[in-house]
């Protein structure tokens, strides 16, 4: 807390200088931010942290994409990640379920603790991790399979429901369990009413917004604790976007949701806390969403959220 007071004083000084019509130099700005950066680990919230990130660095070859980020993400809430294009939001998000492992050139340093375990420790089971931390992508990417098969894909592959010939042969046909699972997940994703009568149709026949909610249902079907979403509504029209936003707010009652977005209003509407990344892969400010949008500490953040910079 004391750190924050110090920085606030710094900031006030700076706003004073602004009112004095003195040109702001970037060095001053960066210095302020440097001090700010140290303090964001101390963002205090009620309840437990679902994810604790400490000193996270990501490199693509020699390219330093994430610069020493520390951050605690509270459970059962919506955390928005905002920032200009190329500042590393997607990269950061992919660190949380180790999807960066799939990129050959990516190297990750630091710790990410989920349920008290560092997921970057040697013996982490990726299957278990990704069952716990689900992900929804920017463009809807349902499989070219039926709606039902899309939703039950994860549990089926994990052997949680056995359907089909082998299931029948082994005497454990879970068709009924699969049906219930599909219904529950689709209802959670607010898609059930629209598709309940055509579960066997190909998912590619759905509209973009429906496809995205199907992807959310598919992710919910494996029963995750955390849901990561990378610009989940950027490919959708305003109506579909509104549906996804409602959905995200509902999901936060049960799940920890981390969502990347380019849309300030969206972040302001749906999130409980907001983390602002600026170029260079730095976390510049992390606080309650209201605070970030109404009274941010850093001038760069203020410029960014008011649209002066970006």
């Amino acid at each position: 807390m004391s750190d924050q007071t110090v920085t606030r004083t710094n900031d006030e000084q700076q706003s004073n200088s602004l009112t004095d019509q003195q040109p702001t130099s970037h060095t001053v700005d960066a210095e302020t931010d440097e001090q700010l950066v140290d303090s964001w680990t101390d963002y205090e919230f009620e309840g437990e942290a679902a994810i604790t990130v400490e000193d996270l660095d990501v490199y693509y070859g020699d390219d330093h994409a994430i610069d020493s980020i520390s951050m605690e993400i509270p459970e059962q809430s919506v955390t928005a990640l905002i920032g200009p294009s190329g500042c590393g939001k997607s990269t950061y998000l992919r660190c949380l379920n180790r999807m960066n492992d799939r990129i050959d050139s990516a190297r990750v340093d630091g710790t990410v603790e989920i349920d008290g375990e560092n997921i970057y420790e040697g013996d982490t089971d990726l299957v278990e991790l990704r069952k716990k931390v689900g992900m929804v992508f920017q463009s809807p990417n349902p499989f070219p399979k039926s709606i039902r098969e899309n939703v039950s894909y994860g549990p089926r592959k994990h052997g949680d429901v056995n359907v089909g010939l082998l299931g029948k042969l082994l005497g454990g046909d879970d068709s009924e369990a699969e049906r219930r699972l599909v219904e529950r997940s689709l209802k959670q994703a607010a898609l059930w009413d629209e598709v309940s009568d055509r579960l066997e149709d190909n998912a590619l026949g759905l509209s973009g917004g429906q496809q995205q909610r199907l992807c959310i249902a598919r992710c919910l079907a494996v029963d995750p604790d955390v849901i990561l979403m990378d610009e989940p509504a950027s490919a959708l029209d305003p109506v579909a976007t509104a549906k996804i936003e409602d959905l995200i707010e509902q999901l936060a009652e049960e799940y920890t949701v981390v969502v990347v977005t380019h849309n300030m209003q969206q972040a302001a509407r749906i999130s409980d806390q907001t983390a602002v990344f600026l170029t260079g892969g730095q976390l510049v400010e992390y606080d309650d969403t209201d605070k970030i949008f109404e009274n941010p500490e850093s001038d760069r953040v203020e410029d960014y959220v008011t649209g002066k910079f970006g």
């Binding site: 799939r102 299957v127 992508f137 463009s139 990417n141 499989f143 070219p144 592959k157 992710c219």
Partner: protein, 502 residues
């Protein structure tokens, strides 16, 4: 008026184009006479009219009688095209007139080509695209109409070993000139300019495509006509549903009224089935490994080049490999199994190549989505990547089957026994299970067998005991068998597509 002339020219050219083809393939006789004119003379009249029309249209546009959108210059592209025509014509004319050798006529041709190219390139477009074609058409029209070139005309250039007879030369030149005239007419029809050029190109491409398809159809028709009588020899339809086609159901035996090719059909079908069964799992497996698991780099690049090279390796080389390597290991005699393996190896590279392409074209989003659900790589490949790649894989197999079904050389080396056997190999009936390794035996697989292309080859080379008609019948059946495999392939591709999109 302008439009009608242009359309008349294009119509005339299309008619002569078609008649040229039919004459070339003996569908219309050069002796056919219409209104007292022989076919060639009719061609001549048609070209005279079309040529005159083209020149008239060009000049009319140039002097401003009709408003057109002609460009200022014809351009180098058209110039070069006509240069090529000029090269051929110049060379020919000098050979005919002065009897100079190949070098001389080539030089003369080059000079003509250069002059024509440059000359036409700088002409205004409406003249440059009509006048040369019109002149060529007029010359050819005069030659034909006035009877300088008639059915009995023969050109026997001393510098060449070949002799050219009118029934071949006239249709060929007519076809080529018709294309030119139609092209020019199409440009005129749209009043030159970019619209005109587009129309001309469209017509040329359309006629060419049509020509290709026509040639293919002719080929098939030809085989059908020659082969059908043999195929149906002794065939009985009825009473009721009973159908007997001895050519398809019998072998070759002494004292049999109608001989047939049943053993060869069975042989070919088993060869193809065996090769496909062998190549598909291996090929897809290799493709999956190379695209999904192996690190992309020099290793995969080398393998890729090697697979491409293998696919273009001549079949006789595969045959030799089988002969030297497989035959000694399968009881030192030709066998169906050796043939299956050799054909399977031939098919393998294509399956690998097309499967790789198909797997690569499966969007990465699917893989990401699956991985993000915690599904491991192998399960992702099996349940998402391969189903999505399947239509592409099947396409590759279809193409490959077409090649191996008609393959003669490897069969000659590793499978063939008697070309006209009496009985077909009975593969399914010969499986024996034993208590000792290798546990399964199949005598029939280790026996020599005939196959359709091999039988065809035997008829052509030796004519052993069978006359030509037998060969045509065989060819027709081979065609049908390959088409049958295509049908199966296309049906399964449709099935896999359906599964992805419905």
């Amino acid at each position: 008026m302008f439009d009608r002339v242009a359309l008349g020219i294009v119509g005339t050219a299309i008619v002569t184009f078609l008649l040229g083809w039919t004459t070339l393939f003996d569908r219309t006789s050069p002796d056919t006479a219409v209104a007292g004119l022989s076919l060639f003379a009719l061609f001549g009249v048609a070209f005279l009219l079309a040529g005159a029309g083209l020149i008239a249209a060009g000049i009319a546009s140039n002097v401003g009688l009709f408003k057109t959108t002609a460009d200022q210059y014809t351009g180098l592209g058209t110039g070069v095209a006509f240069g090529v025509v000029g090269f051929a014509t110049g060379g020919l004319v000098t050979t005919i007139l002065f009897g100079v050798g190949a070098t001389g006529s080539a030089l003369a041709g080059l000079v003509v080509a250069l002059i024509v190219t440059l000359g036409i390139a700088v002409l205004p477009e409406d003249i440059g695209t009509t006048l040369p074609v019109g002149l060529l058409a007029l010359v050819w029209g005069v030659l034909l109409a006035a009877g300088f070139v008639d059915v009995g005309w023969v050109w026997d250039p001393p510098s060449l070993a070949a002799t050219f007879h009118a029934p071949i030369v006239v249709p060929l030149v007519t076809i080529a000139l018709s294309l030119l005239v139609a092209w020019s007419g199409a440009i005129v029809a749209e009043g030159f300019g970019s619209q005109g050029r587009q129309n001309g190109a469209y017509l040329m491409i359309g006629l060419n495509a049509f020509g290709m398809i026509a040639v293919l159809l002719l080929l098939i028709l030809f085989v059908v006509r020659k082969g059908l009588p043999t195929l149906l020899e002794g065939a009985q339809f009825g009473p009721g549903l009973s159908i007997s086609v001895p050519f398809l159901t019998k072998g070759v035996m002494l004292g049999q009224q109608y001989n047939g090719i049943f053993p060869a059909i069975v042989g070919t079908v088993w060869l193809v089935v065996g090769a496909v069964v062998l190549a598909i799992p291996m090929g897809i497996g290799a493709a999956v490994f190379l695209t999904e698991y192996a690190e992309q780099g020099r290793f995969t690049a080398v393998i890729e080049t090697a697979t491409n090279a293998l696919w273009s390796t001549p079949s006789i080389v595969y045959g030799l490999f089988g002969y030297a390597f497989l035959v000694p290991r399968f009881g030192n005699r030709n066998s169906l199994l050796a043939g299956m393996m050799v054909l399977g190896f031939m098919l393998l590279p294509l399956v690998v190549i097309t499967s790789r392409e198909a797997i690569k074209s499966v969007p990465d989003e699917y893989r990401d989505a699956s991985a993000a659900l915690g599904v491991n790589q192998w399960q992702t490949i099996r349940s998402v990547v391969l189903p999505a790649a399947m239509p592409g894989v099947v396409t590759g197999v279809i193409l490959g089957v077409g090649r191996i079904a008609g393959e003669t050389a490897p069969i000659l080396l590793v499978t063939s026994g008697a070309p006209f056997p009496a009985r077909a190999p009975s593969i399914l009936g010969s499986f024996r299970f034993t208590a000792t390794p290798p546990f399964v035996q199949n005598e029939a697989l280790l026996q020599a067998s005939s196959a359709l292309p091999y039988q065809l080859y035997a008829v052509i080379t030796a004519g052993v005991g069978q006359e030509e008609a037998f060969g045509w019948g065989t060819a027709l059946v081979l065609l049908l068998v390959v088409l049958g495999f295509y049908a199966i392939g296309i049906a399964s591709r449709i099935y896999f597509r359906r599964k992805l999109h419905q």
